[in-house]
Every structure is written in structure tokens, then in C-alpha cells.
């Protein structure tokens, strides 16, 4: 094999590897990417039950209800226009409180409840999940400074 041929073979192999990776990636992305929904999106787009989705919004005031088993929590996520019931079994994140932002990964059941596998709450005072930036939450926020007095 001549040097030129070997070089060409290597280039073709590299191309095949990268294209292969791309194809594999595209294939895997098709059914494994989670689409982000707000409660209003769920009303509008009606995602199928069982499909993996990511739900984001504000935890409605007075909606957090702890179940008798001590580890399951039910609450409502709202975005100002629609509401979505969520059930989660596990330890809630440190910053999970009523009126604050939350992002939940999980799926809808056939009766319309959202079963969350994981919850992500606001990380710190400077951080709002990127998906929630556009949502107006001023009306529902607990003001921390009024609590101090």
C-alpha cells in the first residue's frame, strides 16, 4: 500500500467513525430527548401518557400535600394559565417550597397525574432554572424580606 493510499484509508475511516457517531447520535436523540413542557403546554399539546417529559413551573401556594407513607408528596405546578398535578416519591430538594420554581422529570399517567422521577428546585438565590426564565412568577413568590420582620 502506498503512503497516499494509507492516508486516504485513514481519512475515510475517520469520516466513517464520525458519520457513524452522528447517525447513532441522531437515532438515539430521536426517542431519548426529553421535551420541556409547562402546564399550559401540556394542555395545548396533550403529550401521550408514558412519554418521558420534563415539566417546569411554580409550585402552587398551599398545594403541597404529604401522603400517609411519609415519603410521597403531591403538589400542583402552575404557570399562571394552567395547573398540573404532580406526584413524587422521595426526598424533596432542599429548596422545594411553595411558590418557588421547580423542574420535574417524569411522565404523565393515563389519569392525567404527572409522576416525577426527579425534582430540581431553585439552586440558590441567584439561580432560576433556565426553562423558567420566561415565566412570570411575581404574583406567587413569597417575599423573603417580609418574613424577617
Amino acid at each position: 500500500m502506498k503512503a497516499k493510499h494509507q492516508r486516504l484509508t485513514l481519512a475515510v475511516l475517520a469520516l466513517v467513525a464520525l458519520v457513524g457517531a452522528g447517525v447513532l447520535a441522531a437515532f438515539a436523540l430521536q426517542d431519548r430527548a426529553n421535551y420541556f413542557y409547562t402546564p399550559a403546554d401540556i394542555v395545548a399539546k396533550q403529550p401521550a401518557a408514558g412519554q418521558a417529559i420534563r415539566l417546569g413551573g411554580m409550585v402552587e401556594e398551599g398545594s403541597i400535600r404529604h401522603e400517609a407513607d411519609g415519603v410521597t408528596v403531591n403538589f400542583i405546578v402552575q404557570d399562571g394559565t394552567a395547573r398540573q398535578a404532580v406526584m413524587y416519591t422521595g426526598i424533596t430538594p432542599d429548596l422545594f417550597v411553595e411558590g418557588s420554581g421547580v423542574v420535574a422529570d417524569g411522565k404523565l399517567t393515563s389519569d392525567g397525574t404527572f409522576i416525577a422521577d426527579s425534582l430540581l428546585a431553585k439552586h440558590d438565590e441567584n439561580y432560576v432554572p433556565r426553562e423558567l426564565e420566561g415565566i412570570d412568577m411575581t404574583g406567587n413568590m413569597t417575599k423573603t424580606d417580609t418574613l424577617v420582620e
Binding site: A21, A28, L29, I91
Partner: protein
């Protein structure tokens, strides 16, 4: 005054970088050698000045100088000293200053230690290094000045995010940054070599220790980051495919490919263009990672501030540096003559396979990480790409890669026969088959990837030592031991990952003091809840005793901490480590009936993941030391031979 001194030092360092670039550029164009003599001292001066600037920032944090905006925003007077120091880089501006400081010091190190490179290539390399630095200096001085004062001076600072008040934070970012920025040296070497058209074994031998060094730090940084996320976040996971984790993984993948291809270039003078390409890609990945993390386009614990102006600045820097290097590569690749040839079944062949597969994994991680941004740009939909995608797409390729890793070191350079290879590798193959058989027979809960992974690990663990077969152990070079240990580390980590994925047991309970919980062979008793206080926090602490089988009883204490300064809570998981795994207990909330949530995991052999990571880094370190020693030894011999003549 300290803040002003720091800023002046930073400006001086920036002007040194400019001088360094100018000297190199003028010297090259005019061919004036006397200009070259000045470049080493200038590079060293730049490194010293920027290091001083960074140390002054740390000093401001240690003194809690509340007249500096950055200290106010990220520190508080009552805080343990170590977190005051680490607070200096636990924020946007400080971390960028750390980045440029490491870059300056790395340039100075080239100036002091690099003696193997041809002068012209060295000068071009230092010029390229300075050119990159200039952009980051401009970024710091224009868009994110860490020494900005605040007026009126507040009484106290706002404190550091409690999640970041941890020994992990003190060590993880600097380690990772040294790795990221160390790759800039490989990048500059490649640019220098492309400009001077000096690509060959000598160049590869000069570049290799730097690549190895950067890679060792990257490996350690990723390992430390993984362990930090594991115990600090309280989610019990060790890798989340979070964009920021991916941002550190991508340079590592490229650097791993690079350090293998550079060996082909050094030993056999092959893969010239490919090695240059990888050197460019590796540092590009570091910069893209920095962009993703620091610009705030992706959300994560690591995104300090969302600031579009800064994002565009870094994006522009990226475009200039990556685009420039790629353009240079396209211009010069034709004139880079390919070196010697090899047969498909050979050491080179295996290393090419290693490179292609690593590139494929890199491509998949890259696509998955950036795809959400792309979708958002194209439509108004938002998506997230998580573990299901990454595990499915990278897992199988990674397993093929590690299988080739077992065979590669047993192949001869240039040409070998498949039959001879099968002979040499028969024992590991048999072990893998046996392990596969046993696992299928005796376990029930394993899915395909962990199953194959664990079986392969059994074979690799043995195969990694096979290069020592029938060799004089004392005469085997140190870098060979380095390779063996690193490859063995992969097997160790693989066992940990497969075991954690397949055999973890989890219980989630609401318990009242006095309750007993059984997990695997553990008998866990929830004794009491007590309040405790630390230097800047108060906590509720659960007193828990745990007993494995009939062994001694251990006490552990998971906590829920409240930080006075930030009004936020973090949960501190309690870990109990045995040789065969870790018990992981998290305390949750209480309810009206006085019950407390406890989440308990038993994770068999999970620690092997990080032990494996440390072994991999140790292997890299040995290889680097071995190479450096051999180079200096050969130099002495050459000098001696010349003296004899």
C-alpha cells in the same frame, strides 16, 4: 491598595503577553534571532506577574476586604479560612483569573523547562500561547474585572453558596483548570509546528510530557468532581451527564486520543496531521467547555451568572482561536508529509482504532450536549438530553474501545499477525468469557451494558499486565508501568461502574427514632435527632447506627444544614465505607407525626470508580516521569558521546 496592586499586576502581565506575541511574530517574519533570546524571560515575567495578581485576589478574600465587590458578593467574614481561600475562585471573575494565571504560569514553565524543541518552533509556540492569553486578558480586564471596588463599603459579605463550601471545591476547579489550560500548551505546540512546518518524532517527544501532565490533572479533576457530586448533592449518583460534566469530559476524550496518537508520532513518525488536529481539538474542547459553563447558556450548579455580554465575548474568542487554528491546519495539512506506514494489524492499527472510537464518543457527547441549544435556536421548543441518550449511544462504543485497549499493547509496531495476537490474549479472552457466563448464570438484575462491562473488566485487568510477560521487570521502562497501571485503572473503574449500576439497593422510609431498617446485610437503626452547630451553620443531625452482618456497630450522622448567611439548606449525606462498598444515608424532612425521611443506599464496590480514576492518573504520572527521565538520560549520553569525539 491590594486590589489596585492586583489590577496593575494584571495589566502588566497582559502587556508582557503582548510583548511576547510581538517578539515572536516580528522575529519570525524578519528572521532576527536576537529577538528570540528575549522571549523566554518575557514569558517567565508574564507568568510571575499574573501569579502575583491571582495571589493578591486570594489575599483579599483571606482578609475579607469588603471594599471589593467580588469579595462582598462571594464571601463573608465568619467562614473557615480554607473556604475563604477557595471562595476566590468559586465565582466567575475569580475563576477566569485562575484560568489565565495557570495559562501564564504554564507559559513560564515552557520558558524555563522546554529544552528539546527547536528554537524556531519554541518561539512560535510561546507566541501562540501569548496570543491566546491576550484574548483572555482582554476578557478579564474589559468584561469581568475581579478587583472592582464597591462604594459604600458594606458591613459584611453575602457569603458563598453553601453547596460550594466544601473541600471538594477547594481542589476540584484548580485541578481541572490546570488540565484544561495545560492543553493550551499542546495547542500552541501544534500551531507553532504548523507555522514552522516542523512536525516529526522530535516535536512529538517534546510535546508528550505536557500532554501527559495536562491529562493527569484532567483525570484527577474529573474523578474529584465526580466524587464531590456524589457525596455533596445527596442524590447518590456519580455521573449525571450534566452539561458541565460533559464539558470536562470532552477535553479529556480528546486528550486521551491525543496522548495515544502522539506516541505513534514519537515512535513511528506516523499520524502527523491527525496528531496536530487532535491537539487543536483538545484545547478547543477546553475553551468550548469554559464557554458553556461560564456564559450561562446552560443551567447548572456551575453557572455562576447569566450574562449575555460575557457569553458573546467568550464566543468571539472561541471563533478567533478555534477558527484560526482550523484555518491554519487546512492551509498547512497538505505540506505535512505523512510518515512511515503500517499494516492494519499492528500497534499503530490498534492506536488508530483507539483514536477513531474516542473521536466517535467525543462526537456523540458533543452532539448531545449542544443539541438542546440548537433546538432552542431553531424552534421555540425546549428539550433536555440526559442519561438515557448518553448511556445508549456511548456505552457500546466505550466497551469496544476497552476491548481494543486490552489487545493494543500486546501488538507489535508496524506489522503483526492476528493469530499471534490471539495466542497472546487467550487467557484474558477466556477470563472474559468465563465471567460473562458466571454473571449470566448467577445474577438476575444486570442489564446488557453493565454485564458486558464487568465481564470485559475481568479480562482487561489481566490483559493490562500481559506486556510484562517474560520481560525483565527491573529493565522494563517506567512509562510501560505507567501504561499498565492506567489500563488496569480502567478495568477497576469499570467494575465499580457496573457494580454500582446493577447491584445498588435503595430504601426510602419515614422513620421515628428507634426504628430499624434493613438494607441488604445492613441493620440500620435510627436513634435520635439532635441539633448541632458549626462555624457558620446550624444543623439537624440524625444519629444513626449501622451494622453490617454481625460486625461492629458504626455511628453515622447525616445532617440538614442551615447556613446563616445564605438562608439556605443543604443536606449532608453520611457515608460508611467498607472494602466492598459504601452505605449512603440522607436525611430528609420531618412530618407532623414526628417521622423523618431517610433515604438509604447500599452501593457495592462503588468506591472502585474513583480508585480506578486515581490509578489512571497515577499511570499517566508515571509515564510522564518515565519519559522525562529517559529524555534527560539520552541527552546526557549524547553529550557524553560528543565530548568523546
Amino acid at each position: 491598595m491590594i486590589a489596585e496592586a492586583g489590577l496593575i499586576a494584571l495589566w502588566l502581565a497582559a502587556s508582557m503577553a503582548f510583548l511576547q506575541f510581538a517578539l515572536s511574530a516580528i522575529g519570525l517574519v524578519k528572521g532576527q534571532d536576537e529577538l528570540f533570546k528575549a522571549i523566554r524571560p518575557v514569558a517567565i515575567a508574564q507568568g510571575v506577574l499574573v501569579a502575583i495578581s491571582f495571589l493578591l485576589l486570594v489575599w483579599l478574600f483571606v482578609r475579607s476586604d469588603m471594599s471589593v465587590k467580588l469579595v462582598v458578593a462571594n464571601s463573608v467574614a465568619i467562614k473557615p479560612l480554607i473556604y475563604k481561600i477557595s471562595g476566590a475562585w468559586g465565582n466567575h471573575e475569580g475563576s477566569m483569573l485562575l484560568w489565565i494565571a495557570i495559562m501564564g504560569v504554564a507559559g513560564a514553565c515552557i520558558g524555563i523547562f522546554e529544552r528539546n524543541l527547536k528554537q524556531k518552533t519554541l518561539v512560535t509556540t510561546l507566541g501562540a500561547q501569548a496570543f491566546i492569553s491576550i484574548g483572555f486578558y482582554a476578557y478579564l480586564l474589559i468584561a469581568s474585572n475581579p478587583f472592582e471596588r464597591i462604594f459604600p463599603v458594606p458591613a459584611d459579605g453575602q457569603g458563598l453558596n453553601p453547596l460550594l463550601q466544601d473541600i471538594g471545591l477547594a481542589l476540584h476547579p484548580p485541578t481541572l483548570y490546570i488540565g484544561y489550560v495545560g492543553l493550551s500548551i499542546a495547542f500552541s505546540f501544534a500551531v507553532g509546528a504548523m507555522i514552522t512546518r516542523d512536525v516529526g518524532p522530535e516535536f512529538a517527544k517534546a510535546m508528550r510530557p505536557w500532554v501527559l501532565g495536562a491529562w493527569v490533572f484532567l483525570t484527577l479533576g474529573i474523578t474529584a468532581g465526580s466524587y464531590w457530586a456524589y457525596y455533596e448533592l445527596g442524590w447518590g449518583g456519580w455521573w449525571f451527564w450534566d452539561p458541565v460534566e460533559n464539558a470536562s469530559l470532552m477535553p479529556w476524550l480528546a486528550a486521551t486520543a491525543l496522548l495515544h496518537s502522539v506516541t505513534v508520532l514519537a515512535t513511528r513518525d506516523g499520524l502527523r496531521a491527525w496528531t496536530l488536529m487532535l491537539a487543536v481539538v483538545a484545547f478547543s474542547m477546553s475553551m468550548i467547555g469554559t464557554f458553556l459553563v461560564r456564559s450561562g447558556v446552560l443551567t447548572s450548579v456551575h453557572a455562576f451568572a447569566v450574562d449575555p455580554e460575557r457569553g458573546s465575548f467568550i464566543l468571539a474568542l472561541l471563533a478567533i482561536y478555534i477558527g484560526g487554528a482550523m484555518a491554519l491546519f487546512a492551509l498547512r495539512v497538505g505540506s505535512v508529509k505523512e510518515g512511515s506506514q503500517f499494516e492494519p494489524v499492528s500497534r499503530e492499527g490498534a492506536l488508530v482504532a483507539n483514536n477513531l472510537l474516542l473521536s466517535a464518543i467525543l462526537g456523540i457527547v458533543f452532539i448531545g450536549t449542544l443539541y438542546p441549544l440548537f433546538v432552542e435556536g431553531m424552534s421555540d421548543e425546549m428539550i433536555s438530553v440526559g442519561p438515557p441518550y448518553f448511556n445508549l449511544a456511548t456505552g457500546p462504543i466505550a466497551l469496544i474501545l476497552v476491548a481494543i485497549m486490552a489487545a493494543g499493547p500486546l501488538l507489535r509496531w508496524r506489522r503483526d499477525s492476528a493469530k499471534a495476537l490471539l495466542n497472546r490474549i487467550s487467557i484474558p479472552v477466556f477470563l472474559t468469557a468465563a465471567a460473562l457466563f458466571a454473571l449470566v448464570l448467577f445474577t438476575t438484575s444486570m442489564s446488557v451494558l453493565p454485564l458486558v462491562g464487568m465481564a470485559l473488566a475481568a479480562g482487561i485487568a489481566v490483559a493490562s499486565f500481559a506486556p510484562l510477560w517474560k520481560r525483565n521487570l527491573r529493565r522494563t521502562p517506567m512509562h510501560t508501568y505507567g501504561m499498565i497501571i492506567a489500563h488496569f485503572g480502567i478495568a477497576v473503574a469499570l467494575v465499580g461502574m457496573a457494580s454500582e449500576t446493577s447491584f445498588t439497593e435503595e430504601r426510602l422510609v419515614a422513620a421515628t427514632p428507634g426504628d430499624e431498617i434493613l438494607v441488604n446485610k445492613w441493620k440500620i437503626k435510627f436513634e435520635a435527632i439532635e441539633p448541632v452547630a458549626g462555624p457558620n451553620w446550624t444543623a439537624l443531625e440524625a444519629r444513626v447506627t449501622a451494622q453490617y452482618a454481625d460486625e461492629t456497630i458504626h455511628e453515622i450522622a447525616p445532617q440538614n444544614r442551615m447556613f446563616a448567611s445564605a438562608q439556605m439548606q443543604t443536606s449532608e449525606a453520611a457515608l460508611l465505607t467498607r472494602w466492598n462498598g459504601q452505605l449512603y444515608v440522607v436525611l430528609g424532612d420531618s412530618d407532623e407525626q414526628g417521622r423523618w425521611q431517610l433515604r438509604i443506599w447500599w452501593k457495592p464496590f462503588v468506591t472502585l470508580i474513583w480508585y480506578g480514576g486515581v490509578l489512571i492518573a497515577l499511570g499517566g504520572l508515571l509515564a510522564m516521569i518515565g519519559r522525562l527521565r529517559r529524555a534527560s538520560h539520552q541527552k546526557k549520553q549524547r553529550a557524553y558521546a560528543e565530548a568523546m569525539i
